[in-house]
Symmetry: C2
């Protein structure tokens, strides 16, 4: 089991995406040039040593203990090792790195969280869910809560002293939050919350003294459906350190992320305070959600990377069969390292070529989020926000679907060994599988893309993206050195345009057409965005002589030759429409 | 958790594939018309009741116990429930159903084993690996062993009193059996075998008194490599019931199939008897292997089917969100069953449309195997054998790759519930993952297809298949009622022809080109074969009015509209060749 942080690739992407120029436009980040950023990331990344990797396996095997007869109610015990690990994470400044210094944070750009996050997730995905979700909770409090609540809770959250959660789902509703039944009754200066929440990650644990829950519930006078949902802050411990009446009712037993507590949370007149406006809970919730969705996409990328590294290590050592090319045969052995075999290379390159493009797209989106939040020019902010809003469901869904396939493909490189618990690949595959489901299933991401992002502001979000790609094409159409990337990008843009047209025409006539093709359309736009990233990488690398530049051109060539045929396939699937699935009667399934 | 044997679909396929006409040509199976066949299958299929399904979950959770201090050496204990289950399997006649009556078998066609096998595997894949592998061992003994060995071992194996295994892999060689080190030294009337075998399924267990191992090893005078491998029969117990010196050295801990013992087997001067000719062990081994490969493909199909059934049950019950079509909304509820949603239907139809085509192809191949073995006309035998030889690696690889994706897609229908151990989907996905690896990884299947099957007899195998499809096209080109299937089939055949041409030309010039494109080529031919199956189903169903006929036409329409775009994608990938993966230096990965 091994892992090396992809520091060099991070640096490459920051340079390729003109990070320094972009960040220089934002006053508050003027100290955070790429060098500073990378030193912060490396500082946090230093955690990722054998200790973290080992804790990942221990966490999976040992799992969690649910103890019903704790001193103050049911308790969830994490593996012993996790406490030391969490202390190290606190000390490193990971938790509050991007929070304002006013509340004890590091004041770093959001991009930092994406780079450092990839390292943490790769090392121990289940464990890093805790700090990751806490970040979403902090961000929501920062943007929506009163000054009083911010002053009271944020400093202890940014330091990692306390952790935060998101409490959304109930037994009758996951996707469909309009069906929420939990109630919040006003009383004195606060509310009293009652109800049951399920699938609450890190809802209860022993890593921090206090846990700050953000809970969706209904006030007595609330209208029906999602327009009657409000958001509340419900701490595990109240000001006097007494226990609030929110308790863990049990843990889920799962395929993976065994050391991430997935809790049933029962509230019985638990004290809570409103966050944001009454009945505007969904809006506040989406602040958490968008942050979380991007990071779930990042989980797909991180797990692809560590799976790839482990498969590569195996492929360089395992000897089996002969190369068909005499010159490539190892004369000192009866068999060759399996990395000589084309089919093994095919698997490795599938993972490598997609992972690097997904990473570039994710870092680019993170930079756009920094621009959207803090650039002085409103037009820049708006365009950046459009880009991030468009890419969030794409990154969440595509990078997790692919992340799962990449973990499976990496496992396959190991053959029978990959199926055993002696190697970490089987755990990576089990762990990453949840990313396709939580924070909105990938089907829901596709509906968000087609139903919301594509139609908002008269289609401006996608049009801006198309313009950006078109501009790149116009600027580079005569660049002979990268013509092998320009043609595929033109093809990709044409396919996006054609499928979008199809979707608009047929989706307006009959919304089921848009819904039936949404997932295929998302994959199409994802692959187009990745093609755009590879074209930019090619342009940036061509004529440069360091190994990474040559490497990028070769890897990008694999992408356009061997991955891009998938793009045209999705385009055809989109335009095949709804009838073949909607004509089926329920009894015919 | 539920499962209903797909009896109706079996009957449909037998009728569609003219089973009765085919089998009537074989004297020894003259009693086995489709009605008799289905009554035998139903008899065996009756096992598949709650008992079997429950044992599957228990087997996964309870797993196996490795006991080092057994009375006669290390023992492997299966869950208590398995003994009752195995007794029921014995009584049903499953184990020896297709063995000759002379040795106590049922004398049924091989097709029986495929139909009954699908039911058994779906109910408990890990458990049914035992009887499945035993069948391969029996078949090898039947075809290759001396009369003495056959008389001594087969009757107890066909009754299920004893089980058989295949002992191939060693630590230094899985794929590359030429590297086998185990030795067999002649002594008196037998050999003494010494060595270590790994990943031996059902190598040790407590379900039968005796276990009959078929072991690959080298005699002292054997030439190097695969031309010096011989096959030996090594029983756990000798004639006097004393223990032979073959012992289980431990069990693997695995991602799935937790109740299938995967054993390290140590031989120390264990007594064995030669099966087949000396140094022709690989040939004998392939008898077991081809049988096993088809059944591994069948595992992919069976697991697709049971995953689909469970996803469907959930989709019909779970209510979440509203249909966009007012008329489809359930007025008595605040949300609709999720099967109204197009994206949920997309997932279900992906599984249904591929599973039914894979099943048809597998049954068709099983019928060809019956023809190849027992038809009086040599030409019929040879053509049938060509077909089976061509399809074996395709079914093994495609149906397991797709089987895994289908289990994952079915899990996705359940959302968060699918990720929990409350539902069986997560186990199905873990169990089915091994099928892509064992009995030759799917990469090896692709090499078998491209390197052996495509080139043997001057390409006759594929040419025969192309001719068969061409004949169907010519006969039906003016059949307006199925024109929506004929055009896609023409396209499929053209793509196969073009990619085969490309492979021949470029693979002869440079074998790495063929190896680099082998997996994509296999998928292309697989999808073409499935398109052919759908075209035949459409032809058979058109104009008929029972529900299954309408169902097939709708499901087939989904296949040609929504799955077939994958076929053209694979064709493009094939023709992209090797350079983008082979140009990478090892250090550049």
């Amino acid at each position: 089991m091994s892992y090396k942080s992809p520091i060099e690739d991070f640096k490459y992407n920051l340079a390729m995406l003109n990070y320094d120029e972009v960040i220089a436009g934002i006053e508050k980040f003027k100290e955070y040039d790429s060098e500073t950023l990378m030193s912060v990331v490396s500082e946090i990344g230093r955690l990722n040593e054998q200790e973290v990797l080992d804790s990942n396996k221990i966490g999976d095997r040992e799992g969690l203990k649910y103890v019903t007869d704790g001193a103050e109610g049911p308790e969830v015990h994490t593996p012993e090792r996790f406490k030391k690990l969490y202390d190290a994470v606190k000390t490193s400044g990971y938790v509050g790195a991007t929070m304002p210094t006013q509340y004890g944070g590091g004041g770093a750009p959001f991009t930092t969280a994406i780079l450092a996050g990839e390292i943490g997730i790769a090392a121990n995905m289940a464990f890093y869910m805790g700090p990751g979700l806490s970040h979403g909770a902090m961000k929501t409090i920062l943007k929506k809560a009163t000054e009083e609540l911010k002053d009271k809770y944020l400093p202890n959250m940014t330091s990692g002293e306390w952790m935060g959660t998101m409490c959304l789902t109930e037994p009758q509703c996951g996707t469909d939050l309009g069906l929420i039944k939990s109630t919040a009754i006003p009383k004195d200066d606060h509310y009293e919350l009652t109800g049951q929440k399920i699938w609450i990650s890190f809802g209860e644990h022993d890593l921090t003294e206090n846990i700050i829950h953000l809970v969706l519930a209904r006030t007595p006078d609330a209208p029906e459906g999602i327009k009657g949902i409000s958001l509340f802050l419900v701490p595990k411990r109240l000001d006097d350190n007494s226990r609030n009446t929110i308790y863990c009712g049990g843990l889920e037993h799962k395929l993976g992320i065994n050391s991430s507590p997935t809790c049933v949370m029962n509230l019985e007149n638990a004290k809570g305070w409103l966050v944001g406006e009454k009945n505007k809970g969904m809006e506040a919730m989406f602040l958490m959600m968008n942050d979380a969705r991007l990071k779930v996409g990042l989980q797909g990328i991180a797990m692809s990377e560590i799976s790839y590294q482990n498969a590569l290590e195996f492929a360089k050592e395992r000897k089996q069969m002969r190369s068909v090319v005499k010159d490539k045969q190892d004369k000192d052995s009866k068999a060759d390292n399996i990395i000589v075999h084309p089919d093994v290379r095919r698997m490795l390159m599938n993972v490598k070529a997609t992972t690097e493009a997904m990473r570039a797209l994710c870092i680019y989106t993170a930079m756009k989020i920094d621009l959207a939040e803090d650039h002085p020019d409103e037009k820049v902010r708006q365009e950046a926000d459009d880009f991030a809003a468009l890419m969030t469901p794409i990154i969440k869904a595509y990078c997790t679907d692919r992340g799962f396939l990449n973990c499976s493909e990496s496992l396959q490189v190991l053959g029978g060994s990959g199926f055993t618990k002696e190697y970490p690949l089987e755990q990576y595959m089990r762990d990453v599988r949840i990313t396709m489901i939580y924070e909105g299933t990938n089907g829901i991401q596709a509906l968000d893309l087609v139903g919301r992002k594509l139609t908002m502001h008269q289609g401006r979000l996608l049009q801006n993206f198309q313009k950006e790609v078109q501009k790149f094409l116009s600027e580079n159409k005569d660049n002979e050195e990268i013509s092998s990337f320009i043609k595929p990008l033109e093809n990709a843009l044409n396919e996006v345009t054609a499928s979008t047209m199809w979707l608009m025409q047929n989706g307006i006539q009959d919304p089921e057409n848009a819904l039936a093709s949404a997932t295929d359309y998302l994959n199409l736009v994802a692959l187009s965005s990745m093609t755009y990233m590879w074209a930019r990488m090619a342009k940036f690398s061509v004529g440069k002589n360091e190994p990474i530049h040559k490497n990028k051109i070769k890897t990008g060539t694999y992408f356009v030759e061997k991955i891009m045929p998938e793009l045209n396939m999705y385009s055809k699937k989109v335009q095949a429409g709804k009838s073949s699935m909607m004509d089926m009667e329920v009894a015919e399934f």
